[in-house]
């Protein structure tokens, strides 16, 4: 626990040595709010709807992708760039534990980002907050972030053998956008590609929050979230079972420090 907290404090210090508070706000919060505004305005223009809750919820949840996929997915890349990757790989402690520790910081920032995006989106697009069950929203956000961060951890493992992580992560992020039902229902997509939504995060938490946001917490809400958390466990199990193999391949193929 002590090591975990010390790692987190180092990550926080590293972040704030690069950003000051105003830059941090612009980069992490304002950018997410503007991205959400872009998508919700497209929805507003195309559908002409006044009640834009479902788009605000969907796009606010999607804002965790930046932290949980784009940043968590390149943790090893950053170490490689700093020349510390070799030390991490040969150290006796678990590499996955190290990624998970750093990802905790991303999870925290993602939670703040999503929450702020949801509140700001609600204010911009006149959502009536009084009837919203915030327990449902916060639980939904939490489940969405956990499953997305787990996918980020799984993807980061592959950075040991490829230098094309930005291509991989951006493609995955766009696929999450398409299959998350943040902007249009998955049922609209061809039947033969819909299965992809079952193996990608966000769709269940977005759907659950949209259905039960104004409702009292029901058993179905937890069924949706349970599925999202099962997905998170599935990603972590795959990451655990593949990291040793990928580590071995990276050492054999000498791709560990390839740029």
């Amino acid at each position: 626990m002590k090591r975990y907290l010390s790692q987190i404090s180092i990550i926080a210090k590293r972040n704030f040595s690069y950003f000051n508070w105003s830059e941090f706000f612009i980069y992490k919060i304002l950018l997410s709010i503007l991205t959400l505004t872009f998508y919700v305005l497209v929805a507003n223009f195309t559908t002409g709807e006044i009640n834009l809750e479902r788009w605000v919820v969907g796009n606010a949840f999607f804002m965790c992708v930046m932290e949980c996929i784009h940043y968590a997915g390149v943790i090893f890349n950053a170490e490689r760039f700093n020349g510390t990757l070799r030390s991490i790989v040969v150290s006796p402690s678990s590499n996955l534990f190290y990624i998970a520790t750093i990802s905790s910081w991303n999870v925290f920032i993602a939670f703040v980002t999503v929450l702020f995006s949801f509140l700001a989106g609600g204010l911009i697009f006149n959502i009536n907050f009084t009837d919203i069950n915030f327990l449902v929203v916060i639980t939904g956000i939490f489940a969405a972030i956990i499953s997305t961060a787990s996918l980020g951890i799984l993807l980061s493992v592959f950075s040991l053998v490829t230098d094309s992580m930005y291509l991989v992560l951006n493609t995955v992020a766009s696929l999450i956008m398409i299959f998350s039902s943040a902007n249009f229902p998955i049922e609209q997509l061809p039947r033969y590609v819909r299965w992809i939504s079952y193996i990608l995060p966000l769709s269940n938490s977005i759907r659950a929050t949209n259905i039960y946001m104004y409702d009292t917490t029901s058993i179905n809400f937890f069924r949706f979230l349970g599925y999202e958390l099962c997905l998170a466990i599935f990603y972590v199990v795959i990451a655990l079972s593949t990291i040793k193999i990928i580590e071995k391949i990276s050492i054999q193929k000498a791709t560990l420090e390839i740029f």
Binding site: F45, S174, N183, P185
Partner: protein, 260 residues
């Protein structure tokens, strides 16, 4: 060395360098397909007609791809040059920095235009949109003006970021906020009035209108949009010239060009 030769060398070298980067491969070859699907499905959900698809999905996703390629290449190149310790060498070489930089931006823009066409072609095939070329000459002219406007915006923005050591931060902040401002996927009239007027300063806002007009049958307001496109391009040429002068001076005073 002749300026034209420097320009050509920089142009060719930049294309090779850009295409070697996985991120550029994403924005050039993968993103056009995915952005077309995202915009197309949003419009399909709303049940919008072909006219909307042409203006906001086919052209919108094409411009999205073009803008993405420009941001993650031309604008980010300042940072890459800084990290490889070549920014100060380029800046202090006997050839004018602007010529070398223009070559780089032209190289990136050439590749980015390919992503524009990939996106336009893919989205029109996927959603069955027939693109009419009744006004072929006007379409060509508006495409040319569009490319020029993207080049001039790239130059101005990359100059602006020369002095900053946080280019990555700003580069990532440019994609969606400016797509929102320029009206790639919806008309700028959807924006609050002060922001709408602010968007009119940028040539990209006008060239988008120009491009949409060139594809319409009666070339609605084509001359009007063309005039404002040219006017704002000239304004940004002046701004980029001014920025270069300021940056050149500041670089000598601060000496922070190579600081990372």
């Amino acid at each position: 060395m002749k300026s034209s030769s420097v320009l050509w060398t920089s142009f060719i070298l930049q294309m090779k360098q850009s295409f070697a980067r996985p991120m550029f491969k994403y924005v050039m070859l993968v993103s056009p397909f995915l952005s077309s699907v995202i915009l197309g499905e949003i419009y399909r959900y709303a049940g919008r007609g072909d006219e909307y698809f042409l203006s906001y999905v086919v052209l919108g996703s094409g411009l999205w791809s073009l803008w993405g390629s420009i941001i993650f290449s031309s604008i980010g190149d300042i940072n890459r040059e800084r990290f490889t310790n070549t920014l100060s060498i380029i800046f202090s070489s006997p050839t004018d920095f602007r010529i070398i930089w223009l070559g780089k931006i032209l190289g990136n823009t050439f590749l980015s235009v390919i992503s524009f066409f990939i996106s336009v072609l893919f989205s029109s095939i996927l959603y069955g949109i027939t693109i009419s070329f009744n006004n072929f000459g006007f379409v060509l002219l508006s495409l040319l003006i569009t490319i020029v406007s993207f080049i001039i915006i790239s130059i101005s923005t990359s100059y602006l970021l020369t002095l900053s050591r946080k280019t990555t931060l700003f580069m990532n902040c440019l994609e969606f906020p400016f797509m929102l401002l320029f009206g790639f996927a919806f008309p700028v009239s959807m924006l609050p009035t002060p922001i709408m007027y602010f968007s009119y300063i940028f040539p990209i806002t006008w060239v988008i209108k120009l491009l949409r007009s060139s594809f319409s049958e009666n070339l609605e307001n084509f001359g009007y949009y063309l005039s404002f496109s040219i006017l704002t391009i000239v304004l940004f040429i002046f701004i980029s010239h001014l920025l270069y002068k300021i940056i050149y001076k500041q670089t000598k005073i601060l000496g922070t060009l190579d600081m990372v």
